[in-house]
């Protein structure tokens, strides 16, 4: 076959990938509509449209604008963040069972929040979230620094995983000790640990938005380098890739994305574990496609689970973290048994 005959095939591969991207965007749009209209009080799509474009202060307008929209936007942001950071984490560690929590962000956020309550008497959600975010960032920097000890040219996947496990275990022990001492901290911790996107409001969205946007930009910058790195460090370097820089950008992106999502919505790191496995059969191994696919699937999955949680146990609601675990875990087991997760 001549070179001219290969080119249309290469074009075909790109077209297929773009088509999948459009389909995933469509799926996300559908879940967004579901999330805005379905709940303890269901709102017809026409009323929802009315509330978004020309609100007149009706009850539906209030429900939509002050509750459903912030909840939906936060769900989309957190799902994007967790899906993308899960794919980054699995790519960097070459471990199909890695999740963003591996960097210690979940335990870091949890400890900083309960510590702020008991030591500083913080009692507002917006302030906890700042502490959670700071805790996630500090924990992940600590893991990164520990992972570098003894290694040449940046941390390796193995030292990162070991450092992350050690730091997480240490912080979890501290958190347990703190919440046993303080009832108010215990309440906040229990609620946060279940994982939820409800009752957060628009100010939380604005609070985490810059971190998640910055993380998404870093993730996309990281994608080509991660592609090179997935061929092994020697091949990556002979393709002109700076290994230490690629790892550092990757860890920074995971920290910003998962730190912001976890601080705002609690421990939902499970999303980061399963979503890349759903995205990979569609995207193949190219991170320039795997990362956006994982983000879109993560967002759609999180919103979908949240909608299920709203209708499954009326008049109450099930936390999205609980729904995700209930439907996600059996599904993941099924997935693993049917199609073994690929070696990375």
């Amino acid at each position: 076959m001549s070179a001219t005959a290969v080119a249309p095939r290469l074009h075909g591969i790109r077209h297929r990938r773009l088509t999948v991207l459009v389909v995933l965007l469509g799926a996300l749009a559908v879940t967004v509509v579901l999330s805005i209209t379905i709940g303890s009080k269901s709102v017809p799509v026409s009323d929802a449209w009315h509330a978004l474009t020309a609100p007149t202060g009706t009850e539906n307008d209030l429900v939509i604008r002050s509750l459903r929209v912030p909840r939906t936007v936060l769900g989309v942001l957190a799902g994007l963040a967790l899906g993308v950071s899960g794919a980054l984490m699995q790519g960097h560690t070459r471990n199909p069972l890695a999740d963003p929590g591996l960097l210690g962000v979940t335990q870091g956020a949890a400890f900083a929040m309960v510590a702020s309550i008991i030591l500083l008497g913080v009692d507002s959600l917006l302030v906890y979230i700042w502490f959670g975010l700071a805790g996630a960032l500090v924990a992940s920097v600590a893991v990164f620094a520990l992972g570098m000890v003894g290694g040449r040219g940046g941390p390796t996947p193995v030292t990162l995983a070991l450092a992350g496990t050690a730091v997480s275990a240490f912080l979890a022990a501290l958190t347990s000790a703190v919440v046993l001492l303080d009832e108010q901290a215990m309440d906040v911790f229990r609620f946060w640990q279940a994982g939820s996107i409800s009752a957060r409001g628009a100010d939380v969205v604005w609070q985490v938005l810059p971190f998640i946007l910055a993380g998404l930009v870093l993730a996309m910058i990281n994608a080509p380098g991660l592609n090179a790195l997935s061929l092994g460090e020697d091949v990556a370097r002979s393709l002109g890739q700076n290994i230490a820089l690629t790892r550092t950008i990757g860890v920074a992106a995971v920290t910003l994305l998962s730190g912001a999502a976890v601080a705002a919505c609690g421990s939902l790191a499970f999303v980061g574990l399963i979503v890349p496995h759903l995205a990979r059969p569609l995207s193949g191994t190219d991170h320039r496609w795997l990362l956006p696919y994982s983000g879109l699937i993560g967002a759609a999955l999180l919103l979908f689970a949240d909608v299920i949680g709203r209708v499954v146990a009326p008049p109450g609601e099930l936390e999205v973290g609980v729904v995700l675990a209930l439907i996600g875990a059996p599904f993941f087991v099924f997935l693993v048994r049917r199609r073994k997760p690929v070696r990375l």
Binding site: A7, I13, S230, S238, G284, L344
Partner: protein
């Protein structure tokens, strides 16, 4: 000289494997490094490919210190395939070869018609166009190795370093890969440096042989100059007879016994 090592000291940590070695690679030649296991030939190749920083001495690429040149600039001139590289499962041949374009891409400009042309030409030259959409792990060992070489070709460098490109391949596939190397050299004028274990194939496919032992170059020159019975005794501790290859006329080694077997 395309590549020149002068007085290089190479090792990992405190352990020095190569202590003060000189070697020059001329443009447009195929040079093959031979030597017993652990003699430092892969280490030397890694240093020539900038994967290992010398602890002393220097490596010059086109007259410039290779360790002072940005990685990406080196990657536009010099391609290197390590021994037995691994790819993530499910990676297709086309995707692998496309990754060879990495040094020519920036994060805001990911794919150009140059890239596409280079990938198509590399697939074509290695005879893999029909397998472009197949996952790498479904291919035979020889096809897989051709795919990796195809990636290095798409990188568009005229200097290629190959570390044991024929490892784990049966004889037919070894010859297939080496014929490809010869083709690259003869048709496309590429300069190739490789490490090989099979002395007879090394003699047949190389312009120059470099024989190493214990981190030193013992002999270098044409296969006829290097592959002598005396050298085999000195470098491989092997008692052997060298005759002319009835097909190619290059030296053919007939092993007799390791020297240690003689009382």
């Amino acid at each position: 000289m395309r590549l020149q090592a002068s007085g290089v000291k190479l090792g990992y940590g405190d352990r020095l494997i190569v202590d003060g070695l000189d070697l020059g690679i001329e443009a447009g030649t195929v040079t093959t490094i031979i030597g017993p296991n652990g003699c430092g030939k892969s280490t030397l190749l890694r240093a020539l490919g900038r994967l290992l920083k010398p602890q002393g001495g220097e490596v010059l690429l086109d007259g410039k210190r290779i360790d002072k040149t940005p990685t990406r600039e080196v990657a536009k001139v010099l391609g290197m395939l390590p021994q037995a590289p691994t790819a993530p499962e499910g990676l297709t041949v086309a995707d692998l070869v496309a990754r060879g374009r990495h040094p020519h891409q920036t994060w805001y400009r990911q794919w150009s018609s140059d890239d596409e042309g280079a990938v198509a030409a590399a697939l074509d030259m290695t005879g893999l166009a029909d397998l472009a959409e197949r996952p790498l792990d479904e291919l035979s060992g020889g096809q897989r190795q051709r795919a990796w070489i195809s990636m290095a070709l798409a990188q568009g460098t005229d200097l290629l370093l190959l570390d044991e490109p024929t490892t784990f391949l049966d004889l037919a596939h070894q010859v297939e890969v080496l014929e490809l190397v010869r083709h690259l050299h003869q048709e496309a004028g590429r300069t190739v440096v490789m490490v090989l274990h099979d002395l007879n194939l090394a003699a047949r496919y190389a312009d120059r042989l470099v024989a190493m032992r214990a981190g030193k170059v013992i002999s270098s020159g044409t296969p006829h100059e290097v592959l002598t019975e005396g050298l085999l005794r000195e470098v491989f501790e092997l008692d052997a007879k060298v005759i002319a290859d009835p097909v190619a006329g290059t030296p053919l080694v007939i092993p007799i016994a390791p020297l240690s077997a003689r009382g």
